[in-house]
């Protein structure tokens, strides 16, 4: 039994199994959790994986790393000073650990204690104004002086200013690619400086060069690890607003720095305040808001007890697949329309997912790829 969040540490053999399962094709954090909960362990899930993917209609066999592959990744990571850590283990940001889609193994590099301390994220435009950069630095410095770790994305602009101003207090760089694929490349020196007193984290394997869709995925780690997210400057439809949305969905505080309505770089932050984010003008505004939360125990999510069915029959599977299309549909509607049991529907969806044929959207929506 290696149910997530239950064992304080993994055995070496379990860590190999976990790494093979999370690196298997079409297995994300949610599928990982679903498989381990259903089959009782990563090892048991790995054994059933080829069969499930075949039933889901995979056109070719699913790539699953071997034990040797996993061992090699662990060794290469270790040479770079990266530890692959499970939720609940020392060095795994505690608030991140309790999220439904927490990475089963997180690559943590640098001062491990840093990722365990109370964290505030500071994010914003890459092409920030001078005032924005200055203010991000002031905030980061004051929050670091107050004992908070500043989390950000190592990007140009606001991210960089926030990291630099909090280097001595310990700052956390959250990466979209592997630990050996720093983006932007010219921030390799900044990362080296960060790692002296701080840390970096990534859920991606070594060698993974970040692509566009990796950044929103990474952003959920920035907000998830933090008590709250401060957006310093953001244009409309910018990545920082995605982070703010994810933060709100995760139940994190969202803070926004106001700006003139005539400044397009403030349109996003002013918009956040209109939608209910807390306007802040100084570090104490943030501290005042998060102090009561720090005292509270973290909201540990109820473990999902979503049973899977042994093996859906062909007619059921065909009917469920027939109801799916490229337009997202609610899981609940799918259960209702198909007349099949929830366990059967979930099993068919899992099979399709492992076969690379299903896309999961937010809010219980699914569609065919």
């Amino acid at each position: 039994m290696d149910a997530i969040n239950q064992n304080p540490t993994l055995t070496d053999a379990q860590r190999i199994d976990w790494l093979r399962l999370i690196r298997a094709e079409n297995v994300g954090p949610r599928t990982f959790r679903s498989l381990v909960n259903h089959f009782g362990s990563a090892r048991a899930a790995l054994e059933r994986l080829p069969e499930l993917a075949r039933r889901g209609g995979g056109s070719r066999s699913q790539r699953i790393p071997s034990e040797d592959d996993a061992r090699r990744e662990l060794e290469a990571s270790s040479r770079l000073g990266v530890h692959l850590i499970a939720p609940g283990e020392d060095g795994y940001p505690p608030r991140l650990a309790v999220l439904e889609d927490a990475p089963p193994l997180l690559g943590v590099r640098g001062v491990r204690d840093v990722s365990m301390r109370p964290m505030i994220a500071i994010v914003g435009s890459r092409n920030a104004s001078g005032a924005g950069l200055k203010f991000a630095g002031l905030l980061a410095r004051d929050l670091a002086d107050a004992g908070f770790v500043i989390a950000s994305g190592l990007a140009r602009g606001i991210d960089q200013a926030a990291h630099r101003a909090s280097i001595k207090g310990g700052t956390l760089a959250v990466l979209a690619g592997g630990h050996d694929r720093i983006y932007p490349p010219e921030h390799a020196d900044l990362l080296d400086a960060i790692l002296e007193h701080g840390a970096s984290i990534s859920e991606m394997p070594l060698g993974h060069t970040p692509r566009a869709h990796d950044f929103p995925r990474r952003n959920r780690l920035i907000s998830g690890a933090s008590l709250g997210v401060i957006v310093v400057e953001a244009a409309l439809r910018s990545g920082s607003l995605i982070t703010a949305r994810l933060a709100a969905e995760q139940g994190r505080e969202v803070f926004a720095v106001p700006g003139s309505p005539l400044d397009p770089r403030a349109a996003g932050t002013n918009g956040l305040i209109k939608q209910g984010a807390t306007l802040i003008t100084q570090a104490s505004d943030v501290i005042q808001a998060v102090e009561p939360i720090m005292g509270r125990p973290m909201a540990l999510r109820e473990e999902d007890h979503e049973p899977l069915a042994p093996e859906p029959d062909m007619a059921e599977r065909a009917q469920i697949v027939g109801l799916l299309g490229p337009a997202p549909i609610l899981l609940d509607d799918l259960i209702r329309l198909s007349g099949a049991s929830p366990a059967v529907v979930r099993t068919v969806l899992l099979e399709l997912e492992l076969a690379g044929r299903l896309e999961r959207h937010g809010g219980g929506l699914v569609s065919l790829v």
Copy 2:
């Protein structure tokens, strides 16, 4: 009987009485209302005024204008195009009319219809930034285009920008001094331009040069006449924040334009948003917020039925005066501590007020001068 807000128009004789009473020394709008409600008419109150002031311990006789004085003020006002209008009469801003401390007679000049239309106040710093001035102008223009009258204080900076941008749609200048004592003097030309399509109002007699304490008093008219008040730029502890506080006390919407935390001219507006004012970045934000209010009937206050006592005896009066001092005390506490009836306490306070010995603060607090 000429109870306030009950008769649609005053007779000529009543208007003379009302003007004499409101211009009498130590009679403000609240005292005026209290006297008329108790004695049944301004005429009856005028007859009793000397006796009341004497009982309150006035060291010299109270100045009360004669009928000729009042007639001369009406004539001089008329020559300047100023009409002295009572709450409920045509030309008196309807939302202002229902306030407890609405001026019993308001001097209205210009296009009378303008002061009857839905109004939004725009206020802010005299030494505003270029961006602030520009934004005030954009807001005023868009709100005027949407059919709102822009109310402001004819001051330098934001006020001026708001008036200028809404001249064609009709804008309302709310004065702190008499209609013949324009402040600042160099805005006489601006006022002339305003009066072509708009109006100006003042509760002060001709010849009254505005002093520092007249501006906060005037500010209650700006907010009181409006559906809501927009603060465009304001430093901490500025007059615009007083207007915002008055607006909130009067149940008006308070809107604030955000700015950079590094800009001291935005400290006041950002502070207002922290306290619950609505952040706005465009005219439509304001319109959206006030449209539901426009549909609603105005909250007409219950007429205060606060009876006065015939004549408190010397012992009661001495005891109540003994409880008063320079530190403000709550009316309710005064009633409780004195053991006298509310009517007796109110009567003694009215006498003291007419004698110039009492100061009324907000929230039911009173103190000796």
